[in-house]
């Protein structure tokens, strides 16, 4: 008899919602400010099955409305960086990452929060994206499916960076589960009402899902189209000055997640010449013309799309936990 027995996963009693990891990505900054206000007004929360930490990750960068003060905070959470030496003159964000790891982690430890939802904006036309390190973290995939169902008019994609837990470097990797919630397009330093509202609604659905999950609901399985990052392409640059010599081609601009085929236009030089995609495999572009990536040498990223089967899941009960302890002891 074939029964789809739900996969049983531990409850998620502690969730962190983080904004302002990049201080000029304003949807998250303002949403976190509003959530903090709500929490102050409601005083001690229900004390129920879910505790939500709301965090403004990079206060100094937020105050100055810049991405970072010294170094990109969202690259500071690899095990090596978190556990390396910290001399007094360390960059601001290195010191900050330790504090955030102490608050939300420690990364890899039993005390880490169960889920980190890190809020970001992009200048690229990406709609709403989840960005995660795993394509088999059923919690993240189910949350994504839930948002897709609740926000059917919102273009929504799941992006997967195939990076090991050890090498993972972003803030969302500090929790036992985590993902970045990215909304674009939006210029940095600007808050657009539609993006803010989408992020606010999205975060609400994330928290609702977690409450339902914790209360024992079964979530039926299904499929998610996952975009796995394969490679990045830099702008053409002058070999001497390193300045860019072409811009994203008008036919590619704003066409995130539209299949890019070999010989499709990629860049347009300042004299109007088109440079085309020389790869042999059609791939899906994203983060097309993201402002913060000029300095990282990325004009666009490319992904393969594949359909991932997501099993039904439910929260572990007390009995499940006892049973698994017992079987561990037997072993």
């Amino acid at each position: 008899m074939e029964v789809d027995e739900p996969v049983r996963l531990p409850r998620l009693p502690r969730v962190a919602v983080c904004g302002g990891t990049h201080g000029n990505e304003l949807s998250g900054v303002y949403l976190v400010r509003e959530l903090l206000k709500d929490l102050r007004e409601k005083d001690a929360e229900d004390g129920g099955p879910l505790s939500v930490l709301v965090v403004l990750s990079n206060p100094r960068a937020t105050q100055q409305c810049r991405r970072y003060i010294d170094v990109d905070l969202n690259r500071c959470f690899s095990h090596a960086t978190l556990n390396g030496p910290v001399p007094d003159a360390s960059p601001y964000e290195i010191i900050l990452s330790r504090k955030l790891n102490a608050l939300l982690g420690p990364k890899g430890g039993q005390g880490a929060v169960d889920l980190v939802c890190d809020l970001h904006n992009t200048t690229a036309n990406m709609g709403l994206c989840f960005i995660a390190y795993s394509d088999s973290d059923w919690i993240c995939l189910h949350i994504f499916k839930h948002l897709q169902r609740q926000m059917p008019d919102m273009p929504m994609r799941f992006i997967h960076y195939d990076v090991s837990k050890k090498e993972s470097y972003s803030l969302d990797s500090v929790g036992k589960h985590g993902f970045a919630l990215e909304i674009g397009p939006q210029p940095h330093g600007v808050v657009r009402s539609t993006n803010y509202t989408a992020m606010k609604v999205g975060v609400q659905h994330v928290l609702d899902w977690v409450r339902h999950f914790n209360s024992g609901s079964v979530f039926e399985g299904g499929f998610v189209d996952v975009f796995t990052m394969v490679k990045k392409i830099d702008y053409p640059r002058d070999s001497q000055t390193h300045n860019i010599t072409a811009a994203v081609h008008p036919h590619l601009q704003d066409r995130d997640f539209c299949l890019l085929r070999p010989e499709d236009p990629l860049f347009q030089t300042f004299s109007g010449e088109a440079l085309t995609y020389k790869g042999s495999e059609p791939l899906y572009p994203f983060f097309i013309n993201e402002c913060a990536y000029y300095e990282k040498g990325v004009a666009l990223s490319l992904a393969r799309k594949r359909r991932v089967a997501v099993p039904p899941i439910r929260a572990q009960t007390e009995e499940d936990k006892q049973a698994s302890f017992a079987s561990e002891e037997e072993e």
Binding site: D70, V71, P187, S193, T194, A247, H249, C291, A292, E295
Partner: protein
């Protein structure tokens, strides 16, 4: 002080440098003040006969302003004639003229060092991003501008003409709390609607918890610079303007 916050904010806009160059403090002038003085030495002195004839000052904006020429004086017939020429050459694509002659809201631009300052603002484009279409539009407009100057220098006469402009009326700030924090965003209905009429009673802002703030002015205005990133710190959500028709005298090279 708000002055210091502004300084560090402005210098932080240099995307190329990850390290912030700290002001050495004390007697040294801020970098941009030093640059202004160099520009004035090279292209001015402002107000003198030696000053450059024309300066084109190229800008981008996060606002949906399209191609906008910025005029500082309604009496500058040379500039008005140039802008008339550019608008006609660029048509059917739109290139509008913003006149900022407001006694309080006008500001001392780098281009004002020259006898005929011309601002060119093209958007929408995020700061730190280069969009092909924006770049090409700017390039075409500048080409028309230089064509005009060449024709003028060759002796062509430009008969008297009229030019439609949008004259700056006032600056509207975001609603803020007692600490100066923004408590509302540009309303969805107003976002991206630069140059479209805003009538009394129309939605203008929406608070973070969903309330609408309506425009309370006495008449219809034409908003521009709606939601420009750099103006959050200058207490400006948008500018209001009114439409006006200016007359440009006939001009010919002397």
């Amino acid at each position: 002080t708000s002055c210091e916050i502004q300084k560090s904010h402005k210098s932080s806009r240099q995307k190329k440098n990850q390290k912030q160059t700290h002001a050495t403090g004390g007697d040294e002038l801020p970098y941009e003040v030093q640059r202004a003085q160099e520009i004035n030495r090279t292209f001015g002195p402002k107000g003198s006969p030696e000053a450059y004839d024309v300066i084109f000052d190229l800008h981008n904006t996060t606002s949906n302003m399209g191609c906008t020429l910025i005029l500082e004086s309604s009496k500058d017939s040379f500039n008005l004639q140039m802008m008339n020429y550019i608008k006609k050459a660029f048509a059917p694509a739109s290139c509008l003229v913003l006149l900022n002659e407001h006694p309080h809201l006008k500001y001392s631009t780098s281009r004002s060092v020259a006898k005929h300052p011309v601002g060119l603002e093209v958007g929408p484009q995020p700061q730190g991003v280069l969009r092909s279409n924006i770049f090409q539009a700017m390039r075409v407009i500048l080409k028309h501008a230089l064509d005009f100057i060449e024709l003028f220098n060759e002796g062509m006469e430009f008969p008297s003409c009229t030019v439609e402009v949008f004259r700056v009326l006032e600056r509207i700030d975001y609603p803020r709390d007692a600490n100066g924090n923004i408590i509302a965003m540009v309303h969805t209905n107003l976002q991206d609607c630069d140059w479209e009429p805003l009538n009394p009673g129309d939605p203008m802002f929406q608070t973070f918890d969903g309330q609408t703030v309506h425009y309370q002015g006495s008449g219809t205005v034409y908003p521009t610079f709606i939601n420009e990133a750099a103006y959050y710190e200058k207490q400006q959500a948008f500018l209001t303007t009114r439409r006006e028709t200016l007359v440009a005298s006939a001009i010919r090279k002397a």
